[in-house]
């Protein structure tokens, strides 16, 4: 079991500062396969910076990250994504001026049609794969409960549906590790319930999740481990029960 933990994702003492302001300080963590790790902490604690470093959008000053046996520190964001890490963004990114269905289609990995020469010399292969992907995309949208919006522009969805779509995009990418940045913030209780149930079903599908969330109830409900961060450092780590009774966290959050 310990061996398995080390094999999936190991983050070893990451450091990152922006113009002298420390965003990550000796931050280490591990996540086991099929685990759900919750990251909590006040604004500016370095949670999103951690996501950005992990996914290659920001380079860290020092430290190492190992994902499924491969060192990913310093690799480009698109390369890391192709290795099986998908993420959502706190400021909710989607391709808003194309259809919902096309957003999903865009996110599938290893598409032969994205190679330009295939478009001209292996067009039947491209079409066949595109047809398969369309079926998969519709199935994913049905699973998420927004299949009726498949033909709408992503921009025309409600805020909650857009958040749902951004998670569905990660499902399309079939990533092994999903990093979800505030997946339920600002949503109504029905939508929160829906998104939490999708997230909690991910481990059964062999996926692991790290999520950032300020909604304590939600994160305690679905995480199997929680890390509390502040000023770039890990303050404490444990099961939701352990963390819930940590006086430092009660002080910061749960009072």
């Amino acid at each position: 079991m310990r061996e398995n933990m080390a094999d999936f994702l190991t983050v070893d003492s990451l450091n990152k500062s922006f113009d002298g302001i420390v965003a990550l300080e000796n931050f280490s963590c591990k996540i086991k396969k099929k685990g759900i790790l919750g990251l909590i902490g006040p604004n500016g604690a370095g949670k999103s910076t951690f996501f950005n470093v992990l996914t290659g959008f920001i380079t860290c000053d020092s430290g190492k990250t190992n994902f499924m046996g491969t060192e990913i520190t310093g690799k480009s964001a698109d390369k890391i994504a192709r290795m099986g890490i998908s993420r959502t963004f706190q400021d909710l990114r989607l391709i808003r001026q194309i259809r919902v269905l096309d957003n999903i289609l865009l996110c599938f990995r290893d598409q032969p049609g994205e190679k330009l020469r295939n478009t001209f010399i292996k067009n039947s292969l491209v079409r066949k794969k595109e047809k398969e992907n369309k079926k998969k995309a519709v199935a994913l949208l049905e699973y998420a409960g927004i299949a009726d919006k498949a033909g709408s522009l992503a921009n025309d969805l409600s805020y909650g549906q857009q958040k749902l779509l951004s998670i569905t995009c990660c499902l399309a990418a079939d990533a092994d590790l999903l990093l979800l940045d505030e997946p339920v913030s600002g949503l109504n209780p029905v939508m929160i319930e829906k998104i939490l149930s999708i997230i909690s079903e991910l481990p059964e599908k062999g996926k692991s999740v790290i999520l950032i969330e300020h909604n304590m109830e939600a994160i305690m409900q679905i995480s199997d481990r929680i890390i509390f961060m502040d000023t770039g450092k890990k303050i404490s780590e444990g099961t939701p029960q352990e963390v819930r009774s940590d006086p430092r966290i009660i002080e910061a959050y749960l009072d």
Binding site: F57, R93, I98, L116, A173
Partner: protein, 295 residues
């Protein structure tokens, strides 16, 4: 009649230029002002081959396309790494460099004197010499360029281009190598523009560097924007409107010298009017300045 055919041939040439530029401006969201450079390289390669080596038209056409594609890579590799306004300035610089080379490398390009007497196309014994024959050839080539561009934008590759246009970070977070996609489409766009250059050189039978200046690049951008960025038919409509409209000025009875100036004013005014009231052009799907409107 000849006059009408002449206008239609020009519309064909500019359709090739605007459709190929639309791949960049409308679909990928990158504004290049080096398009006339690729247009010029196509024209000069074909003209020099025909004049100096007497090589056949089809070979010249292919070499023009390849040369512009390679130049596209040479310009694209450094400039596509930088973003937005800086990219525009970089392409501007390359446009000026290409013009300077054409203008100053006198021993090779004849410089400002230009290259006269470019032979008309001869396609496996089929001589293209009359206006109607040129129109047919230009139309076929424009249709080919349209077909290739349409295939590109409708493919999963094209879907990634649109994603890059809307949100590079999102596209990258789903594993798309932004630079590689941009470079490929930049090369294709450059290569297709060369086809227009080859047709222009063989049709007019004389070229000089002044046909391939920054003004020409801006004219092509105007066609794309007024026709509608992100819509290939828009580029054709834009070419029809912007090539045919100034011709109407001739019938108003203005002296030629005045008409030429009025034409520039007309393009500029149209561009301003469209940017203010109809940024998506006639039938475009992509708004310029969209992001700032959203935020």
């Amino acid at each position: 009649m000849e006059y009408l055919l002449h206008i239609l041939i020009y519309i064909g040439i500019y359709s090739i230029l605007s459709v190929s530029l639309n791949l960049l401006v409308g679909y990928t969201g990158i504004l290049s002002i080096a398009h006339a450079a690729f247009y010029g390289v196509g024209a000069y390669v074909a003209a020099l081959m025909a004049l100096k080596l007497h090589s056949p038209f089809i070979l010249n056409l292919l070499l023009g396309i390849i040369a512009a594609g390679i130049l596209g890579a040479l310009i694209g590799i450094p400039s596509l790494r930088i973003k937005d306004d800086y990219f525009v300035i970089a392409t501007f610089a390359f446009q000026v460099i290409v013009f300077s080379v054409l203008n100053n490398w006198v021993s090779f390009t004849s410089g400002p004197m230009g290259l006269p007497g470019i032979p008309q196309p001869d396609i496996f014994g089929l001589k293209i010499s009359s206006h109607i024959e040129f129109l047919i050839l230009v139309t076929l080539l424009a249709a080919l360029v349209f077909w290739i561009s349409n295939r590109v934008v409708k493919s999963p590759f094209g879907r990634v281009l649109k994603a890059i246009r809307e949100d590079e970070v999102f596209a990258q977070s789903f594993g798309k190598n932004i630079f590689a996609f941009k470079l490929k489409v930049f090369m294709i766009s450059a290569a297709l523009a060369a086809i227009a250059g080859v047709m222009y050189a063989t049709y007019i039978s004389f070229i000089d560097p002044t046909s391939f200046t920054i003004m020409e690049s801006i004219f092509i951008i105007s066609i794309v924007i007024i026709g509608g960025a992100g819509n290939l038919w828009g580029s054709v409509i834009g070419a029809v409107v912007l090539v045919a409209l100034p011709e109407l000025l001739r019938f108003v009875g203005l002296p030629n010298a005045v008409a030429a100036n009025i034409r520039q004013i007309l393009y500029g005014s149209l561009l301003v009017i469209f940017m203010m009231w109809r940024p998506q052009g006639f039938i475009g799907e992509y708004f310029f300045k969209q992001e700032s409107e959203n935020q």
